[in-house]
Amino acid sequence: MNDTLLETRGLTRHFKVGGTFSRKRLHAVDDVNLTIGEREIVALVGESGSGKSTIARLLAQVYKPTSGQIVYQGRSLADVRGRKAQLAYRSDVPMVFQDPFSSLSPAYRVKHGIMRGLILHRRELSAAQRRDEALRVVEAVGLRPAAEILDRFPHELSGGQRQRIGFAQALAYRPRLILADEPVSMLDVSIRIGLLNVMAALRENEGVSILYITHDIASARYVSDRVAVMYGGHIVEQGPTEAVLSDPKHPYTQLLLSAVPDPRAPLDTSVINDRGEPARVIDPAPGCRFRDRCPLRIDRCGTETPLLRDLGTNHQAACHVAS
């Protein structure tokens, strides 16, 4: 395992739902222990409502945790105070967004975001150096001719090109960890591979780690070193990608894998009874959140919330039956 770059301990985030006087709480993320090492791509896989996007926003400090800690390079984020320290963290941990149509401001040329990033986070650069750096990052994501692309408006670029610019913006900070929130979900299939290859290249050539958030397990397998599967706000399984995907321990992971369409394999009809209803995480009762859909359910699942347990080398699953 590589050195730890960022880890979360018991990370929890709840949202208020209902009217002004409601006491109901949406448990978006509950008690998550996630570790991201240096130079690795960790995939966070889950369906909508699993909490994966909330984790990204917690790590990007868009939301504050309800409880739990985020520890970056040994220091808890709660101790990061003052604008300078804040900016330093943001410069190390930028985010790439999902929607190529709204992630770049339509009013400015594409270089605007990159330049603002450089001005805010790399003050030591002169104007000429900033220009050079902008050219470098645009080329690093495979866009040429870089100078011409920088002068275009977003609507003059294709969706794939815009997403590459999103990565270029993040790269301009010389980051340690890029939070990529479903960066390819809105792109055409034939373009996705190009972006995934960009991500792998960034890990190799620039030494950044990437937290790749997705609902597409096949792309997670393609590009990630480790994978964490989320369901209903919990991590239900995590470990090295090959290990988790070739030998899934948690019933939800098994369900996901069998539901993924794979033209090269025969149809797996074992999921015939699951309707794909999402977990309800408003004021959840204790116990496993997957129990209503789980074919392996036992009594204990209804009363005691399972915790992640080691079931192999670095391979953990949160299931009473599996352990």
Binding site: E47, S48, S158, G159, G160, D188, V189, S190, I191, R192, I193, G194, L196, N197, H215, D216, I217, A218, S219, R221, Y222, L245, L255, L256, L257, A259, V260, P261, D262, P263, R264, A265, P266, L267, T269, V271, I272, D274, R275, G276, E277, P278
Partner: protein, 329 residues
């Protein structure tokens, strides 16, 4: 490809144009295919390929500036292209129906499910209130939704349930053909699988044919009988689904299939298809795929290929033209 039995739907040379201030843009060009009764035909392609436009043309749902410029759509002995709205209304929903892409957008957010079903019924037939209710309960049960949800509003149902409600609505009159425009794109992978299996089950029970448009080729690999791959407004490959998946003849289909990383098997680096689809306002002379094609040669820049037969499939590639050496498969 001529079929043995009388096809249910027969599309020939369909051409859809968008009027602009300059020359019209051709969004769908010379599309032709047959749908046999009870068959599942999938139309796949990426954004801008014209698949949704083609579907809307089939259902006669295009509005200006788009219009059908040429071609015929034979259905139940009529040519849908030349029929008036009044004539179409007789066929709509009873003989063919449409399931739209996003149920949240297609369903009226301020009307209950029961009210919307009733609307659909009343637009095409005169049923008594009791009959409408009974039929609504029947179709909901068909798709596995508890009939208590007739009183629900769309936002009270989950995404998967909403989509199934749309399908139920499409089956109110047990039509012979149901046209579906990306009905699974807003769903998660497990819900998608469940929906596809549901559709196949209903097909087996009720015998209707399906024309299914999607951008996700792998989704339909186990469910469709016939597969059409569209690019830049044209059909570039068509044939039995398994054949197209196992032995794709057109370079675009090959590239598209290769762009899906697999869950099993060895992890190999993939390249996808570099570049973007052509601007339909300024299409390339010659083959539309040529600028991105890894095996293009000289004639590709000047000659527009026809759909050539290659075994059981048709492929719009000069490499498959009769008399030409086939490229290595």
């Amino acid at each position: 490809m001529p079929r043995a039995a009388q096809p249910l739907l027969s599309v020939r040379d369909l051409r859809v144009e968008y009027a602009t201030a300059d020359d019209p843009v051709v969004a769908v060009d010379a599309v032709g295919f047959d749908v046999a009764p009870g068959e599942f035909v999938a139309v796949v392609g990426e954004s801008g390929c014209g698949k949704s436009t083609m579907l809307f043309a089939l259902a006669r749902l295009l509005s200006p500036p788009a219009s059908i410029a040429a071609g015929t759509v034979e259905f139940h002995g009529h040519n849908l292209v030349t029929m008036t709205e009044k004539e179409l209304n007789v066929l709509r929903w009873r003989d063919y129906s449409v399931v739209m892409q996003s149920a949240m957008n297609a369903l009226n957010p301020v009307a209950t499910i029961a009210a919307q079903f009733a609307d659909a019924v009343h637009a095409h037939a005169k049923y008594s209130k009791q009959k409408v209710h009974d039929r609504s309960v029947e179709v909901l049960e068909l798709v596995g939704i508890d009939p208590i949800h007739l009183k629900s509003y769309p936002h009270q149902l989950s995404g998967g349930m909403r989509q199934r409600a749309m399908i139920a609505m499409a089956l109110l009159f047990t039509p012979d053909l149901v046209i579906m425009d990306e009905p699974t794109s807003a769903l998660d992978v497990v819900a998608q699988r469940a929906l596809m299996m549901q559709i196949k089950q209903l097909q087996a029970e009720l015998g209707f044919a399906v024309v299914f448009v999607t951008h996700d080729m792998s989704l339909v690999s186990h469910f469709s009988d016939q597969l059409l791959v569209m690019y830049a407004g044209q059909v570039v490959e068509s044939g039995p689904t398994r054949t197209v998946f196992d032995r794709p003849a057109h370079p675009y289909s090959r590239g598209l299939l290769d762009a899906f990383p697999s869950i099993r098997g060895p992890r190999t680096p993939l390249t996808g298809i570099p570049g973007s689809p052509p601007d339909l306002a300024r299409p390339p002379v010659g083959c539309a795929f040529q600028p991105r094609c890894p095996v293009a040669f000289d004639a590709c820049t000047t000659t527009k290929p026809d759909l050539y037969p290659v075994g059981a499939v048709g492929s719009r590639c000069l490499l498959n033209a009769p008399g030409r050496e086939e490229a290595t498969r």
